[in-house]
């Protein structure tokens, strides 16, 4: 069985999400990596070094810049003539493109795969992770997105795959990239950070959110996350959101501060190795999943914690 993996990259380097996706794909068969983009020769070379990748297909053309689904999906769909499965990371990048590929080849996608039980059977979370379904696909070909925190990252070195050019197709002409407002941060990325400090609505304002959490995060070398309530209130940008519909994270240590623990939030972080909760309400549901809890006023605790660490 040959598996086409859609490589997520930013034009400069390959994203960690790709490495976990390769691990998942390798459980199905021989991994062929699709690198689509503009001037992505170096990305193709890097993909060839990923351990477990047998072949790299590079689709390089100006119209493949910015990962527009309308243009990338047909490139992948055409390559599916020679592949049995298509696997993409369940990131906003993969979620945007994979279902479009699936529909083009008339396959029902299996979203957010947690484990590969056999070549046609997978587990995936439903109902915000409150239930885990085992599903068997009866389609001849498979299309999956994988939850990247559920798979180890394949080593980014050690491989020596062959590289070939793939048909880059043409500009679909229906969509165009306008702009990207990137969140600039010196901190680690949320989805790959070892430690995350995450804040909720209890911070009361954007100023206090940052004044209290940023120094703590800096001290811990941590990424900063937020609950939906904090993002909705404008304390933190959208890409900080951890939860059912935001980012799924599983760091070594997740420190939830002023977060009550709605099921939608828990869905995004309950696979963290150790969960620490700081909340003034000792009945808050977050304490039911926390390994270490501290009940008290975050406005006193957080500065003291930052100082003493």
């Amino acid at each position: 069985m040959s598996v086409l993996v859609l490589v997520e990259h930013d034009g400069k380097s390959i994203k960690d999400a790709t490495l976990a996706t390769v691990t998942a794909a390798a459980k199905l068969g021989e991994v062929h990596a699709l690198v689509a983009g503009n001037n992505v020769g170096a990305i193709g070379d890097a993909a060839a070094k990923i351990s477990g990748v047998a072949n790299v297909l590079v689709a390089d053309a100006p119209h493949l810049d910015h990962d527009l689904a309308e243009t990338v999906a047909p490139v992948a769909a055409r390559l599916m003539d020679g592949h049995d499965a298509f696997v993409a990371p369940a990131t906003t990048f993969g979620k945007n493109i994979a279902p479009r590929v699936a529909a083009l080849i008339d396959v029902m996608q299996i979203s957010d795969v947690l484990s590969v039980e056999s070549p046609d059977t997978f587990t995936r979370p439903i109902y915000a992770g409150n239930a885990i379904a085992t599903v068997k696909s009866n389609d001849a070909k498979k299309v999956l997105t994988v939850r990247t925190t559920a798979f180890d990252k394949a080593p980014s070195v050690g491989g020596s795959a062959s590289i070939e050019q793939a048909d880059a197709g043409s500009d679909a002409g229906t969509s165009s990239f306008v702009s990207m407002e990137a969140s600039e941060s010196e901190r680690p990325e949320l989805t790959s950070a070892k430690v995350i400090v995450s804040g909720g609505r209890a911070f009361g304002s954007s100023e206090q959110f940052h004044a209290l959490l940023d120094p703590l995060a800096d001290k811990l070398g941590a990424a900063v996350g937020a609950s939906r309530a904090a993002v909705d209130a404008g304390y933190a940008p959208n890409d900080y959101q951890v939860g059912q519909t935001g980012k799924i994270v599983a760091p070594q240590v997740y420190i939830a501060i002023g977060i009550s623990g709605a099921i939608q939030h828990l869905a995004g972080m309950k696979d963290s190795k150790t969960i620490v909760a700081i909340n003034k309400d000792e009945e808050a549901p977050i304490f039911q999943v926390a390994d270490i809890g501290l009940v008290g006023d975050l406005f006193k605790i957080v500065p003291e914690l930052t100082e003493k660490l």
């Binding site: 994979a98 529909a103 239930a131 068997k136 306008v178 809890g293 914690l305």
Partner: protein, 249 residues
Amino acid sequence: MKILVAVKRVIDFNVKPRVKMDGSGVDLANVKMSMNPFDEIAVEEAIRLKEKGLATEIVAVSIGPAKAQETLRTALAMGADRAILVQTDEEVEPLAVAKIFAKISAEEQPQMVILGKQAIDDDNNATGQMLAALLGWPQGTFASKVEAGGDAVTVTREVDGGLETVELKLPAVVTTDLRLNEPRYASLPNIMKAKSKPLATKSPGDYGVDVARRLETLRVVEPAKRQAGIKVGSVDELVERLHGLGIAK
């Protein structure tokens, strides 16, 4: 411009889902059901486009059991003009839903189809993208801002690295993210008025779409439970524990 909005009847987002003892699924008997929250945002966005004079008619469509009529009535009470229920007691997968929507789109000729980015029951996040693929239309997924004008729509998308803005030629598919808008509550007079708005009932067969499942659910189980841990009494103790975990040493 005519807009089609998709609405799904799902478990209310405040209800904690319970897995059935026999492992066949989640128990939905006597559970409060509501419109999928992302679909409420889709309906609201369509109404706002109509209020701005950019849309002329809003057609709400649901695929589901007879009770999905209630969900459609909610959409009508919010401000949709008419509704179509494609009635079936089967659980219809995103690919089949997208095929039915593609057929309805061919009939209705909307300039835009707005859907929630995912339903909070199966969490697939696939229908909008699949519909766009089947129609050959561009897609603006995970939208936090929609600006329509002329023959294009500009969509700002919530992506992992921040906010991305794309321009799509109409007709287009848009899927909503949480911060696109805050849906309105239907007023009592509007709820009354919605009762007399047209609601057509169809079947998947009317559209020639086979809704047989491609994915077979073998079993559904509860996730491994985390045990509640310990509570510490002071910041000093917390610091000690964190050092014990090997961080910030």
